[in-house]
Symmetry: C2
Subunit: 358 residues, 2 copies
């Protein structure tokens, strides 16, 4: 056993700043996001029936529990550099949580617009406790987005929805980390969930930037997976009413649609879909075979790998990375609904042993 | 901006193994726990009215969302080394979540015994999805603990409740990291929540071990804070029915009581208590001023700092670390109940601007 001395991880901008649109003048707003575990998953590989070196890139270990923190440190740092007094987004999920946390750390306002309808406060808990001003408008999500765009145009307020270009820049850091953590090489295949398609776009740009910089000498094959009820890229047309248990990828008209297709085509990869049943089964196996709890959307990557293996899309004896985008604690109710229930026993040794089969 | 190359964090055993009861033969079971953020908190220091260098050690960023992972990597690795076929604990909270995750990763059984009464499934979600066998007995917590102890005595099953000595060993790693992250020095004061008192015991042992090894040249003053409704050490006697919103420190008769008093006395520190109101206020300020979401128990450290500053127990121009033991997503309901509610607006620019005061 060695005794390394550990230096403080300074967050993704100070680590990978050469690859981002930042300068020494950029005030870095960081919660020490990034540097998330890359966990070898041999038991999951066995379940999948694949003779591969399988890793889980666990971005649920970011400060607010999702990969969004990688983009948000960039978006909020650049907002401060531009003199913004607030950030704004239309979101009910991981984006609002991350925006609110980084704005709080920076000491600027965060405004979150949400559409009419019943509010799932659980999803908004993070934005609320981080002090975001949450405003529910008497209109739908598109109207909310229109208002936040206009506000950002007319006021010293920065829009941090996915159209903010610095978010995809920051998200490239996950690809850099994967290569670094693998000892200076990319995986053979990189699989991830696809919702708004910003993350597959960012990973692909990241891998290309790292090859251009001479940090790696080849590129992975990119494979993205949508939920079957929310699979516009697979179907080739927007989905008016997307439905899936994987709420973080329930998106009918992805902002980065064309970039995702480019990542697929340039890398010789695929974008396919998996059912909710496959997603939930994968979520359970990731948790029970590897001890990693991810939100349902994240499990689309592993469900996708199962499909890819069955279809013969991946070769044996290769290195595969599946990104898990968010922590399972983001949505414990879905996990509970799909987990085995507690059993009951009398308060005796014999009673407990019987239940446990001992 | 520099471009560091990042190597994979191997978890606390491979990093700090020289300080633990492990050898090259110990099979290391790791989820890459540890190496959690040490976040500078100047805005929180302002709120506290203190001219100090304040840091938050955010152990909520561990894989299962709490500091328990530091001890559990040791407990489960040593269980495997001993040839155990299962781990067992009596717990409804963070311990069972961590035990279940590490057992899953190791491919061994996890058994969780819980007492009779209404089950808060949210607290058990992690243990359940990680595949632990959760057994609810027809008896109270003490009876559950008696049964798990006997089972561990009579079967090849390892008890991973707090009496497992390897857990406190692993938890020492947090003190090592704090010193490393501060550039080879301890803080002047280290504040943390006290429930079962294992963590204050572990930090103090860690600091002493690091000084003995020549990694630091002095020791911090340790200050622990119990919840007022659950403050046996402060009161000097066990509390039969401990009550507090901070469930993770709701313990009436701490296992490491004497060690906690030793940490206090040897370091010239204090163990005091804070009210639930103070805890919830601190939780809100940590989240809204620094962007860090912790569970209520964690906020006892910052609520305690507020009390310590008011009482004149800490000097100015010192370095202070407050440990945040768990992620706020462990208990979103309490956060929601205490956060400002969303406001409503018409779906127009004017309407939204009015609500926002723009």
């Amino acid at each position: 056993m060695s005794s390394l001395s550990v230096s403080k991880w300074p967050g993704i901008i100070k680590t990978y700043g050469d690859f981002f649109s930042v300068s020494k003048k950029t005030p870095v707003v960081t919660l020490q996001e990034g540097n998330t575990p890359l966990i070898e998953a041999p038991r999951l590989a066995d379940w999948l029936g694949a003779e591969v070196e399988l890793y889980l890139k666990y971005d649920g270990a970011n400060p607010t529990g999702s990969f969004k923190d990688r983009g948000m440190t960039m978006a909020v740092s650049k907002a401060r550099e531009a003199g913004s007094e607030a950030v704004i987004c239309a979101s009910t999920g991981n984006t609002s949580a991350s925006a609110a946390a980084f704005a709080a750390h920076a000491g600027i306002r965060a405004v979150v617009l949400i559409p009419e309808g019943k509010i799932a406060l659980g999803k908004l808990a993070q934005a609320m406790i981080h002090g975001a001003e949450v405003v529910q408008i008497d209109g739908n999500f598109d109207e909310a987005l229109t208002i936040v765009r206009r506000l950002a145009d007319e006021q010293p307020i920065t829009l941090v929805n996915s159209i903010n270009p610095f978010r995809i820049e920051g998200q490239m850091s996950a690809a850099f980390e994967v290569c670094d953590q693998l000892g200076g090489r990319p995986p053979t295949y990189h699989l991830l969930p696809v919702g708004n398609a910003g993350n597959i776009t960012a990973y692909w740009r990241g891998y290309k930037a790292y090859r251009e910089a001479g940090r790696i000498d080849r590129l992975p094959v990119m494979m993205g997976f949508q939920a079957a009820g929310s699979a516009p890229i697979v179907l080739g047309h927007p989905v008016a009413k997307p439905e899936t248990v994987a709420t973080a990828i329930r998106i009918g008209n992805p902002a980065s649609w064309k970039f995702a297709e480019a990542a697929r085509d340039e890398s010789g990869g695929r974008i396919d879909m998996v059912t909710d049943e496959e997603i939930l089964a994968a979520q359970g196996k990731i948790a029970s075979l590897e001890g990693v709890f991810c939100e349902p959307a994240s499990a689309a990557s592993v469900a996708g790998l199962k499909r890819a293996i069955a279809a013969g899309w991946v070769e044996s004896e290769t290195t595969i990375v599946c990104t898990l985008t968010g922590h399972g604690l983001k949505d414990p109710d879905t996990a509970i609904a799909n987990a085995p229930k507690p059993s009951k026993a009398p308060a005796t040794m014999a009673g407990v042993c019987k239940v446990l089969g001992l």
